[in-house]
Structure formats: structure tokens, C-alpha cells
Amino acid sequence: MKILIVDDFSTMRRIIKNLLRDLGFTNTAEADDGSSALPMLENGQFDFLITDWNMPGMTGIDLLKACRASEKLKTLPILMVTAEAKRDQIIAAAQAGVNGYVVKPFTAAALQEKIEKIFERIDANR
């Protein structure tokens, strides 16, 4: 299981990376915005994407849309972990095809629950 963590704040990338390590996911990579993440996703074999929304350069919502428009990445499971908390934003992310949405500040348990739910659903659809 290879996971890409995208957030412009290195602090948050480190937090998520540590939490994933606790959950047993040790194969992670990092990017600081959508435009650096997209080529990594296109060229690497990632199984899961966790992305922030508010980032300079390419935002998380644009990265989400770019993934869904890509033949290779259209089914990639994507979890958004963001401080963006407006209903319109959450609806926009859902319509763009996000698999889960966690608002900051979040708890370790919340993140774990969302990740597990995403994989349960994927397994069920297989």
C-alpha cells in the first residue's frame, strides 16, 4: 500500500505520516501542492491519496478533478483532509468524486475511521 500525502504545511504532512505509520502504513511519499503531486501520481504506483484543499499553486480540489479526469487515476481512492468547512465546498468535493472528507482539526480516530471506511467500500465493490 503506497500512499501520497499532499499538504503545503510540512507539519501536517508529518502528522498524517506518523498516524499512518501507527496504522501500519509505512510506504508514504509527500508533495506540497497539486502541481507537484500530479506527476508523482501519474508516474508512480500509488494506491491512495490524502490531500489538503487550500494550497498555493494547484489546490486540492483541482488535484481531485485532475485525477478524476485522468485515465490512470480516475479510480484512485482520495481522502481530503482540510480546514475548508463550508457546505458548498464539501458538496463540490463530493461531486468531484472524493472518497472521504475530514475537517481539520481532526482526531487520530477520525482519520483511521475514514481510511478504513474507504477501503471497506473499495473491497465491497471488487
Partner: protein, 287 residues
């Protein structure tokens, strides 16, 4: 403050002058409403007596008063902005001279100070997480070791070995200690995770500070625009409000624009109140 008002646009102005500023104040003293009221009777009479030339002239005068009011408002806003910037510098101890001469360049300085805050909090958060990363394996090792000894101890007893006196309080205490290391080890690990999660403040506060940096930039640009506007009566008189079609397109983009953490969550109906709300909203969308 009074000294600053006298200077009006001060050195920040590239095209305006003190004379313009004085003219602004004089024009503004006569408000649009006053001008309208003063001509009400004359305009009614002119219209009733079909004197279109006189009526047109009166309407022109009222329009002129409106332009002057607008012009005065621009001048007032410019001064207010100038004062706000000056006070900001005073508050954070940036005044090297009695008069602040380089507002715009010092705005850059204000931005770099805010960036410094972000860098400092990032450094603090990283140091905290370094300690967490060091402590977590120490605790884990302690727990693993203790559990191994506990297992050996149990099987030692299970093999029929006895320690002569089971009621010896020392053995009981060793047994309790081994159990306790396991339990408390788990508790410490949970708390270390909590400490890790709490470092999320750096991201959240950083996003808010970045918004303030953006605001400072916007104010800076607005100041430049206002200074230009205030120097040109024709430009001001020609101002039109944004046409509604253009505005609708912009609103759509604005609606889902990334904003960072919500500062005033409870007062905003558009904002979810927590993860439960997010889950409810998503499940209402069929998730």
C-alpha cells in the same frame, strides 16, 4: 495623528498632491443629500413650467454634487488607509523616523514578519514532534520488554515452580508492576499521539496568518489604486458599479474558494460545525 492628517496622502502618493486633498475636504463638506434638497423646489418649478434648460442645468448640478461626494469619500478612505498603515507600523514598533516615509516597502516588512511567525511555529511544532518520535519507541521497548518478562514469569509459575511464599508482598508488587507497565505504556502512547495531533495548530494558525498576509497585500494594492483615483476627478466621476453578470460569475468562483480554517464558525450558516456535520452532509449526498 493630527500631523499625519495634515499631510494627507503623504509620500505614498505618486500622482496626488496636498492641494487635491484640501479640495476633497471642501467638496465633501457639501453632501449629495444637501445639494439635492437645496434644489428640490427649483427643480419642481422648472419641470412644472416646462423649463427644460433650467431643469437640465439643475440635474447637472445635482450630478456634480454627487461626483464631488464620491470624490470626497475616496479622499477620506485614502487618508483612513494611510492612517491605518501608519498606526500598524507604530503598534509593532517599526517607526524609525517621526514620519513614516515608505509605507509600501514596510508593508513588505509586515508580511515578512508574519512569515517569520509561521516559520517559528513550524520549528516549534517540529521540535515537539521530534521528541514524540524519540519517546514513542522508548515506551514501546519498555512495554515489549516488560511483557516478555511477564510471559516468562507466568510460564515459570505454570511449570509448577513456586516461589515458596506466594503471599510475599515483593512478588506481588513485581507482578503488579509488570502489568502496569503494559497498561500505562498504552496510555502514554495515546497521549503521545494526542501531542502529535495538537501540532496541527501550526497548520491551522499558519493558514490564518497566510490569509492576513494576503489581506495586507490587498490593502497595499487598494491603497495604490485609491491614491491614483483620488488624483483624477474624471476617473472618479466615471466609476460604475460592477455589472451584475460579471459579478455572478465571480461569486460562483468565490463560493468554493479555499479559505482556510473558519474563525467564526458558530455565526456562519454556510459552515459545518464539525466532522459529524460533514458526515451527515456527505451521507445526504449518497455517500
Amino acid at each position: 495623528m493630527a500631523d499625519n492628517k495634515k499631510n494627507g496622502l503623504g509620500k505614498a502618493s505618486t500622482t496626488g498632491s496636498d492641494a487635491d486633498t484640501a479640495a476633497l475636504a471642501a467638496a465633501g463638506a457639501k453632501s449629495f443629500t444637501d445639494a439635492l434638497l437645496a434644489r428640490k423646489q427649483a427643480l419642481l418649478e422648472a419641470l412644472q413650467s416646462d423649463d427644460m434648460v433650467a431643469a437640465a442645468d439643475l440635474i447637472h448640478q445635482i450630478n456634480h454634487a454627487r461626483d464631488e461626494t464620491l470624490y470626497f469619500e475616496v479622499g477620506r478612505l485614502t487618508r483612513a488607509l494611510h492612517n491605518a498603515l501608519r498606526d500598524f507600523h507604530l503598534e509593532i514598533g517599526l517607526q524609525n523616523n517621526a514620519e513614516v516615509k515608505h509605507e509600501l516597502s514596510e508593508m513588505v516588512d509586515a508580511r515578512s514578519r508574519l512569515n517569520y511567525v509561521i516559520a517559528m511555529t513550524e520549528d516549534a511544532a517540529n521540535q515537539t514532534m521530534d521528541r514524540v518520535d524519540e519517546a514513542a519507541p522508548m515506551v514501546q521497548k519498555l512495554v515489549d520488554e516488560s511483557e516478555a518478562i511477564h510471559r516468562e514469569w507466568q510460564s515459570f509459575l505454570a511449570q509448577g515452580n513456586t516461589v515458596n511464599d506466594d503471599s510475599n508482598p515483593l512478588f506481588q508488587r513485581i507482578e503488579q508492576l509488570l502489568q502496569r507497565i503494559s497498561g500505562d505504556g498504552q496510555g502514554i502512547h495515546t497521549r503521545l499521539t494526542d501531542i502529535l495531533m495538537a501540532q496541527g495548530y501550526q497548520d491551522l494558525s499558519g493558514q490564518v496568518i497566510k490569509r492576513v498576509i494576503e489581506l495586507v497585500s490587498d490593502v497595499e494594492q487598494s491603497l495604490v489604486r485609491l491614491v491614483k483615483l483620488a488624483s483624477n476627478v474624471e476617473e472618479v466621476a466615471g466609476i460604475k458599479s460592477e455589472d451584475s453578470e460579471h459579478k455572478a460569475v465571480r461569486d460562483e468562483k468565490q463560493r468554493i474558494r479555499a479559505e482556510g480554517p473558519q474563525i467564526n464558525q458558530q455565526n456562519n450558516q454556510d459552515v459545518v460545525s464539525g466532522q459529524d456535520d460533514v458526515d451527515d452532509l456527505l451521507s445526504s449526498l449518497g455517500f
